[in-house]
């Protein structure tokens, strides 16, 4: 059952130097209880997408096109009051920098309770406290630390508190924006384990945003690969990671170092952050693509469906797929 459907979403930022396209025609779906991984390098627009879903884009960004269907209503058509009802109650977020996501002058438990009481104003204070206690139990933080302030928590504990807060209203969708990036490997694997656990227990849908393809591979069912504001490959994890087609996806996977595979991976392509956009109509990866052919320079790329659960945004997709 489709919980979230993003259709042709485009977002631009207005800057001093003119308009910058942050997201270009993004479309994907997310089913209830599923995890969708959104992977891409820094600056590819993946965080913008997360904020756009919450309608929390900064003032200089605007959604110029597209629809966001959540539980069959278009989020973009809701009034500010209506979207406020949906935030956190239906869609909540785990932020990248947990240390900054908590307000330093309020107690941690109060901040979690605030989320509960805001969306359930009839709730008594005692039962809100009870619920908060349960959340602390769930994420394994001792109850005696409920009255403490964020600065008294360690990094991993803050991250767990943020997760507890995200679960506070039993949302159906959680957007996790690089939730483990700042953490050490061992801590990261613990947090990922617990996210997986909650997801099964609560039947959550998660949109997992990360730059680390291995983390995404670990936790997600489906994967979106983004590059320079565009979606370039989308499909089930086994397909996208097992048989990547888009040259960029291939590069991304090959540049990932594993513990088991050969020591020498493919020679990676050029430094990609210099300038992406030569011609907005052409393929965004054109300048760095090792496979590019003449057709790529003359024609817009198209979506090629290789399988029901595997789509690639590349003119040469079939050719590459068939060897």
């Amino acid at each position: 059952m489709t919980l979230l459907e993003v259709k042709d979403l485009s977002v631009v930022y207005q800057t001093r130097k003119g308009f910058i396209t942050a997201l270009n025609n993004i479309s994907f779906e997310l089913n209830r209880g599923n995890t969708l991984g959104l992977v891409g390098e820094s600056g590819c627009g993946k965080s913008t997408l997360g904020m756009a879903l919450m309608r929390l884009l900064p003032g200089n960004a605007s959604i110029i096109k597209g629809n966001l269907f959540f539980e069959n209503q278009d989020l973009l058509k809701l009034t500010d009051d209506e979207i406020r009802q949906i935030r956190w109650k239906k869609i909540s977020m785990i932020f990248q920098a947990a240390m900054n996501a908590l307000n330093p002058v309020h107690r941690v438990a109060d901040q979690i309770m605030e989320a509960i009481t805001t969306h359930n104003s009839s709730l008594l204070r005692e039962s809100a406290i009870k619920q908060t206690e349960k959340l602390f139990d769930l994420v394994n933080i001792p109850k005696r630390r409920m009255t403490e302030y964020p600065h008294q928590y360690s990094g991993g504990m803050k991250q767990r508190a943020v997760i507890a807060m995200a679960l506070a209203c039993r949302p159906s969708l959680i957007i996790a924006d690089e939730p483990t990036t700042a953490l050490d490997v061992i801590l990261q694997s613990q947090i990922l384990e617990s996210i997986k656990l909650f997801q099964k227990k609560l039947n959550l849908a998660i949109l997992f945003i990360s730059h680390d393809i291995a983390v995404v591979a670990d936790i997600c069912h489906d994967i979106c690969v983004m590059y320079a504001g565009e979606l370039i490959e989308y499909g089930a994890k086994e397909k996208v990671l097992g048989a990547p087609v888009h040259p960029y996806t291939k590069t991304l996977i090959s540049s990932y170092l594993t513990l088991i595979r050969d020591l020498r991976p493919l020679k990676p392509v050029q430094d990609s952050t210099t300038s992406h956009i030569s011609n907005p109509d052409l393929c965004c990866f054109l300048n760095y693509c090792p496979n590019s052919e003449k057709i790529c320079r003359n024609q817009k790329p198209v979506w090629v469906e290789l399988a029901p659960d595997h789509r690639v945004f590349c003119l040469l997709a079939n050719k590459i797929y068939n060897g």
């Binding site: 694997s189 670990d218 540049s255 513990l259 952050t273 210099t274």
Partner: protein, 326 residues
Amino acid sequence: MKTTTKLIVELDHIRKVYRSKQTFFRSDQKKIIALECLSMKIKRGEILGLVGESGSGKTTIGRLIVKLENPDTGKIYLDDKDISLLKRNSLKNFRSRLQMIFQDPYQSLNPQLSVFDTVVEPLIIHKIGDSTSRQKQVNQSLELVDLKPPADFLDSYPHQLSGGQRQRVAIARAIVLKPEFIVADEPTSMLDATVQLQIFDILLELKNKLNITILFITHSITAARYLCDRIAVIYRGHLMEQGPAQDVMTNPKHPYTKALIDAHPKFGYANKKQYKTLLKTQREPVNGECCPFFIRCEIAKMGVCDIKTPELKKKHNHHSVACFFS
């Protein structure tokens, strides 16, 4: 490249304690032990990977070696010479032999200086060559780090460059004096995965072409595996395991190393936990001497691990471990 066995740097029972700064608001001092009686040897011409979590003291080792900080006790030798005795001229000479590459390329370049000014500065300070030969040396080092053609980059300012390019400029600055030893402190942790490999390749090239010894500090065990000849695993200021890279990766002895390897996401290979280490979190901390990993270790035994700190013992083939049960 394990042809020479000559040592270049040796750390001898280094201890370093940080005192929390007496900030404006807090008067009590907290002691944070960064390194505890740590000894280590680095051989000429190798890349030694120092793997550890944040706060393990791995960066401190790098900073001590290049003399950005001084140890509380213990000695550091460069070619058998105690570096704590260096003063003025000999210190300046020392500076030209050891260099460092920092973690964050967005912070390690002066935003007010162009690429040329950044890279040429060490030459000016050490009064090497005249302006034409300096120009040439700068070009050479830029080419070495794959910023080609150098002329395109000389006049740029850091904010005009991408993260990967900045890190290359930082490497160019480090090698312009032709040092023998470079400390690379997590040089790629702020960079994208695709760029990361290019930086690694440059480091490998430095080792192979210029015969530079590199201490590669990282939190990523896979990066260490990719790049290093030897790996040393550090935990809370103690060396836990040390040995040839291949050995340590395929046949880890210490439970902590096993945990690190297990925690690493197994890309596309299901969720196999090779060593099935379940870290304990609820063990009571012990006052006084004990194994530093005692609180989190699954296989620790009361009466052994909580009364003594294990020594780093050689097992076989240059592979040594600090654990009673390995």
